[in-house]
Amino acid sequence: MSPGLGLWQNGMKIGLIAGGVAVLLSLIGMVEAFSQRFIIADGITLGQTLLLLVSLFASYQAAKKTPGLGAFARLLNGVVAGLTIAGVLGVFIFLGGHLNLRKIFINASPLLYKLLAFDQEFGTGILLLLGVGALGGLLAGLFFLASPHLRKTLSAACGSLVAMGVLQDLLAPTFALWGPLAVINDWIYEVNGLSPGGGLFLFALIGGVTHFWGKKGAAIQTGFRRISPAKQKTLRLTGWLFVVFLLLVLPQILGLFLSEVLTIVGLYVLLGLGLNIVVGYAGLLDLGYVAFFAIGSYTIALLTSPELGFFNLSFWTALPFAILLGVLFGVLLGIPVLKMRGDYLAIATLGFGEIIRILVLSDFLRPWLGGAQGVGKIPKISIGAVEFGTPQEIYYIILVGCLVVGFISWRLRDSRLGRAWMALREDEDVAQAMGINLVSTKLLAFATGAGFSALSGAIFATKLGSVYPHSFNVMISINILCVIIVGGMGSIPGVILGAVALVGLPELLREFAEYRLLVYGAVLVAMMLLRPEGLWPEAVRRRELHEEEPEETEAGLASGPDRSR
């Protein structure tokens, strides 16, 4: 085999794989669904962007994995990969035109083929596809050859452009509310997508900022370090005050719908921080975590709802009971699994989660917990005369909850207990051989996590005003686990980022709703391959050489300690 042939083959191979992915994305209806949304008004749709991203990534990989180092060979390989993908799509369109694939793939409609062929006749469409594929391959190859700085600048600019386009439904109305921004808004956004001029402007702006930061960022950071510690402290404090201010006014800026999304993200942050103690710190894989969420919710329902009429307590009187009951069940469910590890622990806890759900669904407990009909009329939270009813109001309750729980997690992380949990995670036998009592340490982790989860459940119950058994299925446990895996095991800011990425984004993008699980799966696989430590991994503590800084970040911000190191 001549080296030239091997070269071609590599590009072809990667191109064929990516082509398969592109066809798959088309067949499951993703491309068609995404084509409803324009990134650039009347120009480029999200569906096309998706396919283009697949193609660019493949070409980039082809250029990267070219044996030998010739720049020409790399470019060629990128182009070959791009052409191959276009070719595969072309074959797919051709086959679709002659065979009826709809019996198996309901999404394989003529409309899809038309979309893939850029609304052109078959011949012209194929030529266009091949042209775009080759051009994309060439660009991806050039991108690979560019300096890291340029690469960073370009990917930041393109990424933000896509993000701005995807999130237009949220950003445009939000901007429109703010006087001067509204003018810019009208110019950037058209009715359906970014205006070409606005897109170009954004691209240049973000590219410029990234470029500037890449060139000067290090100098600014050293400059910051050079100014006096007192001033540094003031600057940092100002920064934190700004963040606090932003958090306080956020629901007012974002409006009703986005605040609703924020509250859901917030509840998941609470849940995630709790599971982070159990799984992230102590390494106890708990798949029945939703049980404590349910216990928190149902305790509030039982104690406050006039529909049941047992106690009619206020939310604040009932809350301690909800948390205590969560903690108690955390311990009770922890005791039988003390001796279990890994997979066995996961299976057993999975069972517990289901037991709780089936119990609340049962006829036996129906007089107290409402059975399948659930419990309604749970009163709103109120402080004095102020009632927290709308998402914008409940946001503040959840924010306080997140700050408190984040603060507790942070304190525990770098303490005798946190170290004992992490030792347990790393090597249970050795942890015991170092004098750590396994029983109390494990139970404390279960109890703490359960308490956080019950708090989240309590807020959830009053937010909805009613509780139903089906809100507490095993998918919630899985979702929370995904949040902390994607965010970064054991990392507090990671949990927040993970909740925003896995819970917030899907809520925002209605097109994704149908493909949520698919995207979850793909994201998890990609994370495991590319970034197994998570989006925002736990920072390594520096204890020996940099004794902890004076505790100025104690204002109670969840992500404080990791920034201030």
Partner: protein, 257 residues
């Protein structure tokens, strides 16, 4: 005076008797080696002393108190700590955190003290940090406290494991092949270090070792095990000339050398 006494200690796995009616006395502040061919029951005996296995018959007394039936963490609190043949650190914790985990049993702060950062907790943490830094210096890892344990070179990992054991403030330290995989120079360093543990800190050392140079060089008493039974005991010189020992090591053609 004997700090550790085993009388008729027996441990079986199914039909195999790993430790067979073993009598052993370790003198306080001595360096005592246990040697024997692979599978002689040395590590099993360590596991029995530290509470990971429970002897089926006989007793094991530490400072006159029976440790049979106690959990490993309780035995550590009494003052018996071990290291492992294959190093077992907490790989994703920093060097400093590894040492601090060793101090766990000597810290008292509870959940609410930690969350509220009570003065007592803060004072305790500061003192723990001080002690950990002192231990790091002692095991010659000063300045490396912020590295992840898994990123240390091999020799450093060995010393960190001993440092972590020292943090539990042991009276008796069980070292399972501390010089495994070391070159002659590193081995010499480890021997000096073990002597310092005894001379400067007054810790009694019980050692499993395969390198005869180490065994003969630093131990005051050597016990030889074969098939779980004690076949000889004495000073290094006595052991060297014992015909039973020579047979156990060479006679069966086990090709140990």
């Amino acid at each position: 005076m004997a700090i550790l006494i085993a009388r008729g200690a027996t441990k079986q796995f199914g039909g195999l008797t790993a430790v067979d009616d073993l009598d052993l006395e370790i003198k306080e502040q001595s360096i005592h080696s246990v040697i024997g061919p692979n599978g002689a029951g040395k590590t099993t005996f360590f596991n029995c002393v530290t509470g990971f296995y429970k002897v089926e018959a006989g007793e094991i007394l530490f400072q006159g108190r029976s440790v049979v039936g106690l959990l490993p963490d309780q035995i550590v609190q009494l003052g018996v700590t071990r290291t492992y043949q294959n190093i077992r650190l907490f790989p994703n914790l920093t060097v400093m955190e590894n040492i601090l985990v060793g101090l766990h049993g000597h810290l008292k702060s509870g959940f609410f003290g930690i969350v509220l950062s009570a003065p007592a907790t803060r004072k305790e943490e500061l003192a723990a940090g001080e002690e950990a830094r002192r231990i790091l210096k002692f095991v010659n890892l000063g300045g490396k406290g912020d590295l992840l344990a898994k990123n240390l070179p091999y020799g450093d990992q060995r010393r960190l494991e001993i440092g972590r054991a020292l943090a539990t403030r042991p009276k008796l330290l069980l070292l399972d092949e501390p010089t495994a995989g070391m070159n002659p120079r590193e081995t010499q360093g480890m021997m000096d270090f073990i002597r310092r543990l005894r001379d400067e800190m007054g810790i009694t050392i019980l050692l499993i070792e395969h390198q005869m140079r180490v065994v003969m060089g630093i131990s005051e008493t050597v016990t030889v095990l074969d098939y779980g039974k004690k076949i000889a005991e004495g000073t290094p010189a006595e052991i060297r000339s014992d015909p039973g020992v020579i047979e156990a090591y060479l006679g069966r053609g086990s090709a140990a050398h």
